[in-house]
């Protein structure tokens, strides 16, 4: 019970963002002609925010199988990195492992990547419950969105900034707590450079390659991550 309570508290920062973003997704899917069951199925089985937004466009545009596979790889390739950095925590998580891997979203990752768990709680169970709470917020939001459709009394334009705000706050938090700012600066500036060079539609893959290369070059000066808290 203590573990569940701690996991719930840990998941709170994601709750508002996921319910709001999930609702946005539900509204979008509804307006494209994909109602309740579609939103529910996508949020249950894909559980990848930006991919689901992109996915609605693919569905309504009647995209080819190959396009869908390639787009999913491009949009979600960053999840390879999340999994690599969670190897040491999820590798021996036993029966929780399959779900933990399935549910490793941007937001769940940003909550759990520091590896910290509350004292006295089962780490695997704690991480499982945080993931499960997040997943349920996302599903709940999607369902709300597809049900309220276009009947909201106020404009929701700009609501997508909640995702941006979450990452900016996470970035600020880790910048304050980290001993070495080189990895964070590499990620921010390396991506910015690729955005300028490759443009907003094609910069993500080059950015991931550049970040990996730079961090490899910096390995000696960072000292195998021993002084990095993040």
């Amino acid at each position: 019970m203590e573990t569940a309570k701690a996991a719930f508290v840990k998941s709170l920062p994601v709750m508002a963002g996921y319910i709001i973003l999930g609702t946005g997704f539900g509204i979008l899917a509804h307006s494209a002609g994909y109602g309740f069951l579609w939103a529910l199925a996508m949020s249950l089985f894909i559980f990848a925010g930006s991919m689901q937004y992109v996915g609605v466009g693919l569905l309504s545009g009647g995209a080819s199988v190959l396009t869908v596979i390639l787009t999913t790889v491009m949009v979600n390739a960053r999840h390879l990195f999340y999994s690599i950095s969670m190897l040491r925590y999820y590798g021996k998580a036993g029966r929780y492992k399959p779900y933990l891997i399935f549910s490793l979203t941007d937001e769940t990752y940003s909550l759990l990547c520091d590896g910290k768990v509350p004292e006295g709680s089962d780490p695997d169970r704690f991480r499982f419950l945080v993931s499960l709470f997040n997943h349920s917020y996302w599903v709940l939001g999607s369902v709300i969105g597809s049900l309220v459709g276009g009947i909201l009394p106020f404009s929701t334009a700009g609501i997508e900034f909640s995702m941006t705000a979450l990452f900016i706050a996470s970035f600020t938090e880790q910048w304050i707590t980290a001993g070495n700012h080189l990895p964070a600066a590499t990620g921010l500036l390396g991506t910015l450079l690729c955005l300028v060079v490759f443009g907003p539609d094609n910069f993500l893959i080059p950015a991931m390659v550049l970040i990996t290369l730079l961090l490899t070059v910096f390995r000696n000066s960072i000292g195998d991550g021993k002084k990095v808290d993040a």
Binding site: L12, P13, I20, G33, A41, M42, M51, Q52, G55, L59, G62, V65, I69, T72, N76, A77, H79, F81, Y82, S83, I84, L87, R88, G91, I101, F102, C113, T156, A157, G158, I159, F161, M163, T164, A165, L166, F167, I168, F171, E173, Q174, I176, A178, P183, A184, A185, T186, G187, L188, G190, T191, L192, L195, P200, A207, M208, I211, L215, F218, D224
Partner: protein, 107 residues
């Protein structure tokens, strides 16, 4: 009438590819990952969050009015508020509300 079989196949594909990407490192490095991979796992979190910040702001136009003013103001508000209060939920709600007001009413 639309046939639902094809879109259902596409949803299943998006799900399967996403799961494969998330599971791949666990399938490849079954026992213990090499020191280099573990090093990457340690320094990547901070770098990727930086990458995601840029990714979220990628469509901000700096060439035309309002020159990304709503994004700049809301983003700096989140940084300042978070550095001050260290409360993620507060930072998100305030930043999002500010952005919605700025884009709907001011710019």
């Amino acid at each position: 009438m639309r046939t639902d079989a094809y879109p259902a196949l596409l949803v299943a594909l998006m799900s399967a590819v996403t799961i494969l990407l998330r599971a791949a490192p666990f399938l490849i490095f079954k026992k213990k990952a090499p020191a280099y991979v573990m090093y990457l796992g340690q320094v990547l979190p901070a770098a990727i969050i930086g990458m995601l910040v840029v990714y979220c702001l990628k469509d901000t136009s700096l060439q035309a009015p309002p020159f990304g003013a709503p994004e700049w103001i809301a983003s700096l508000l989140v940084v300042g508020l978070h550095a001050w209060k260290r409360n993620i939920l507060l930072s998100i709600l305030a930043g999002t509300a500010a952005y919605m007001l700025l884009t709907q009413l001011v710019f």
